[in-house]
């Protein structure tokens, strides 16, 4: 959308079709069913979404089997999925595809991307090693080269959909290197590692711990190229997550408003009390501001803008904080019923909490924002 600051009519129509699909396939009854399964998704819906709607390949160029749309359309999909707390290994696939697009050689793109674009293969990105550390530079997993290729040793955590992925994109460093130097990306077969599904606070987002023990790996792109490509990949990941978050935040505002109109106390709808009205007005402000940052950041990716690093951090910090606030206030406006398992608010509350810290908490991104501003 931006830098024209508006979506085209075609984009708006596309958004509507994704929203209808989500409303149809991902009502919260379905979300609750899927989040309780270890796989966490419905293969039939995944196939339909990938093959009929082409959403898995939305930002992958047509020459690699994708739809050839841009990052803006991808973020619109993320926003609508966020609105529906959609359960599927979609974000993980986006992370992997983005990594391959940024880092892979031409032949690797041709070999790997078509199966991601049509959803026939599940993939994810494994970068994080310690829950409090989001910078690629602190990676300790090693990649040792011998005659037969690369072998990985180490472990990764908080890997989204890492337990079901057929293909893992793994960040590792050459032995003896440190900092941004010596980092490379590798592809690893999902069934060649030992992996464990973690208990996640947000059950709609499946997370895995992965151990590498002399695991065979293939280099993705250039050796020691990840010092350059990882920040770009993580910026795009942050923007996609920001987009998902503004979708969820809007849903929380809608839900709060609906309940405030309906709930009667003291002989009138609670939405007629200023205490509630002002909360909702503040929330509308927060949500609209957050949308503006997510939309601007999506355009910054699409246009390869120079200020992307700062803008990505800005959008991540703003959108994920807003989502958390919206979920909190929605729960508060619901009162006691909002704290029950039966009420849907907690599904969003937990996604918001998870997203707030995933890929770097708000303090980290605010700090990055200032350090990257005009840098």
């Amino acid at each position: 959308m931006p830098m024209q600051f508006s979506f085209t009519d075609e984009q708006e129509a596309f958004r509507l079709s994704v929203r209808r699909f989500m409303e149809d396939k991902s009502p919260t009854t379905e979300v609750r069913k899927l989040m309780a399964t270890p796989e966490g998704y419905d293969p039939a819906v995944w196939r339909q979404m990938s093959q009929e709607l082409g959403l898995t390949g939305i930002h992958i160029p047509e020459r690699y089997g994708g739809q050839g749309f841009g990052f803006i359309e991808l973020c619109m999909v993320m926003e609508e999925m966020g609105r529906a707390v959609f359960c599927a290994p979609y974000f993980s696939n986006v992370l992997a595809a983005t990594a391959i697009l940024e880092a892979g050689t031409e032949s690797q793109k041709q070999a790997l991307l078509p199966a991601l674009a049509d959803g026939s293969r599940l993939a994810t990105l494994a970068t994080t090693e310690a829950p409090a550390n989001w910078s690629a530079e602190t990676t300790e997993t090693t990649a040792e080269q011998n005659d037969s290729g690369f072998r990985l040793n180490g472990s990764k955590t908080l890997v989204v959909d890492g337990h079901t992925a057929d293909l893992l994109i793994v960040l590792a460093r050459s032995p003896g290197t440190s900092g941004a130097y010596g980092l490379s990306l590798f592809t690893v077969a999902g069934d060649s590692v030992s992996r464990r599904l973690l208990n996640s606070l947000d059950e709609t987002r499946k997370l895995a711990q992965i151990e590498f023990d002399n695991t065979p790996a293939e280099l993705l792109g250039e050796l020691h190229g990840a010092g350059i490509t990882m920040p770009r990949i993580l910026d795009q990941a942050a923007v996609a997550l920001a987009s998902e978050s503004v979708g969820g935040a809007q849903k929380m505002l809608d839900s709060a408003l609906e309940y405030a109109q309906m709930r009667m106390q003291f002989g009138r709808p609670i939405g007629s009390f200023q205490a509630i009205k002002h909360k909702c007005a503040d929330l509308l402000l927060e949500v609209e501001l957050a949308k503006s940052t997510a939309y601007y950041a999506a355009a910054a990716v699409a246009e390869n803008a120079q200020d992307l690093p700062a803008v990505a951090s800005l959008a991540k910090a703003c959108s994920c904080d807003t989502y958390m606030k919206a979920a909190q206030e929605c729960l508060q406006i619901h009162g006691g019923i909002g704290f029950t398992w039966e009420n849907d608010t907690h599904l969003y509350f937990k996604r918001a909490k998870s997203s707030q810290v995933f890929l770097g908490d708000p303090n980290y991104h605010r700090d990055q924002l200032v350090l990257r501003w005009e840098a």
Binding site: F5, S272, H278, A281, D282, L289, T293, Y296, D367, W373
Partner: protein
């Protein structure tokens, strides 16, 4: 598509017409009033006004094109900013031919300055609760009461006055709109000193001030509706002030007089940038003082940048949607509230950057007192032009469709509504 193409063609044609007229008529050595009278007579001064009243009946959009062409040519425009334009808009819409004849031209030449006499000490957010009274003595309307927050009243010739003429009907139905002469014995203007030391506003005391019956606007009891026209134009005021203040660098008599006019008009607004928080200074100050090395300061600055950029981009979204002819979304009503929050966050960040220097003001303060002026000006941002709380009411009711608060003041004669006692 075809519409925008034809609009562009029309624009080009109008720009050419304006330019041709300016080439024949522009003369920087005229007096400001002489030049403006010439511009007014041509119809280009206020091209979006009706033809019988100094305009050419163009759309507002094309009117802006004409103004832009005059600016690009380097010529001086009519006195087209400030409170006077609220008066002009109100008179054009609701005034009699007598009002238009008497007031519009001297308003456009800059000879007459106007002020707006709405707010009162007893009615701030609740404007319709005003108690300044107008009583007809058989010959004149006689005004008694007090107004406040009146910009430029100390040099205004005329005021737009909203006063109560009937106390026995519900509050909105008992007000009448008048055009009052400020230079008369019953009107006393006193500057009102603010917490930041400036006195940009005035208090006005009316003691048996007089208005001839023909200077009532519209009809008796219809004042609220007329006042809504004035207020609808108030939002555009700030933009006009800013473009006016860009300052004119030309030479010639007309420019000398214009610069003097700008200095007078801008005087009350000189602290307004500080009121908004001066986000533009933050990074520069943090670097210059070394405070950027403090992670807590960086967090505070980031909070400001996030909110300020998000507000800026939201404004761009609103404009883009408007340009595409799409219906306005809820995001259009949020700018004022966002501005308040940006200002407060910015004041906090400026405080952290200044540290102990925030205890000093004037020559001893940071940036010669500019930073301290920010700190003691920001509180106005969430009050002036509608408090944050009123903004939230408007947003929740109009944008979000939430139910109105139950009211106890509109279902009975105003006489019976509890109100502040004005001493």
């Amino acid at each position: 598509m075809s519409e925008s193409t034809s609009t562009t063609a029309r624009e080009t044609q109008i720009r050419a017409e304006v330019r041709a007229w300016l080439e024949d008529n522009w003369d920087p050595n005229l007096s400001l009033h002489e030049w403006r009278n010439r511009l007014i007579d041509s119809g280009w001064g206020c091209a979006s006004w009706p033809e019988q009243w100094y305009g050419k009946g163009l759309s507002v959009g094309l009117g802006a094109v004409v103004d832009d062409e005059i600016r690009q040519f380097g010529a001086v425009s009519v006195a087209k900013a400030g409170v006077r334009m609220l008066a002009a808009a109100t008179i054009l819409e609701h005034g009699s031919d007598l009002h238009k004849e008497k007031f519009l031209r001297p308003l456009l030449t800059g000879e007459d300055t106007w002020c707006q006499l709405f707010s009162e000490p007893g009615s701030g957010s609740d404007l319709a609760g005003l108690t300044t009274r107008a009583d007809f003595d058989g010959e004149h309307w006689v005004i008694n009461g007090q107004k406040v927050w009146t910009t430029s009243a100390h040099h205004a010739q005329y005021g737009m006055l909203l006063a109560r003429t009937n106390w026995d009907v519900p509050k909105h139905q008992g007000m009448t709109y008048f055009l009052i002469e400020m230079e008369q014995p019953g009107v006393e203007v006193r500057p009102l000193k603010q917490m930041n030391g400036h006195a940009s506003f005035n208090e006005i005391f009316f003691t048996d001030a007089k208005i001839a019956p023909e200077f009532m606007v519209s009809t008796e009891g219809n004042g609220w509706k007329v006042a809504m026209t004035t207020l609808a134009h108030e939002r555009r005021l700030a933009d006009g002030i800013r473009s006016w203040a860009r300052g004119e660098k030309g030479s010639g008599r007309v420019f000398d007089e214009l610069r003097a006019e700008i200095a007078t008009v801008m005087e009350p607004y000189k602290w307004y940038p500080q009121r908004a928080g001066r986000v533009d200074l933050l990074l520069e100050r943090a670097k210059a003082t070394g405070r950027i090395n403090d992670p807590v300061v960086r967090q505070a600055i980031a909070e400001v940048l996030i909110k300020a950029k998000a507000a800026e981009w939201t404004g761009r979204r609103v404009k883009a949607a408007h340009a595409l002819g799409r219906p306005p979304g809820p995001e259009g009503s949020l700018g004022k509230l966002a501005g308040s929050q940006v200002a407060r966050l910015a004041a906090h960040a400026h405080t952290l950057i200044a540290g102990g220097e925030a205890m000093l003001a004037g020559d001893d303060g940071a940036m010669n007192g500019l930073i301290s002026e920010i700190l003691v000006s920001v509180p106005a941002e969430s009050i002036a032009g509608g408090t944050d709380e009123i903004q939230r009411n408007i947003i929740s009711e109009r944008s979000l469709g939430m139910p109105k608060e139950a009211r106890t003041d509109i279902d009975r004669p105003f006489r019976d509504v509890p109100r502040n006692t004005v001493s």
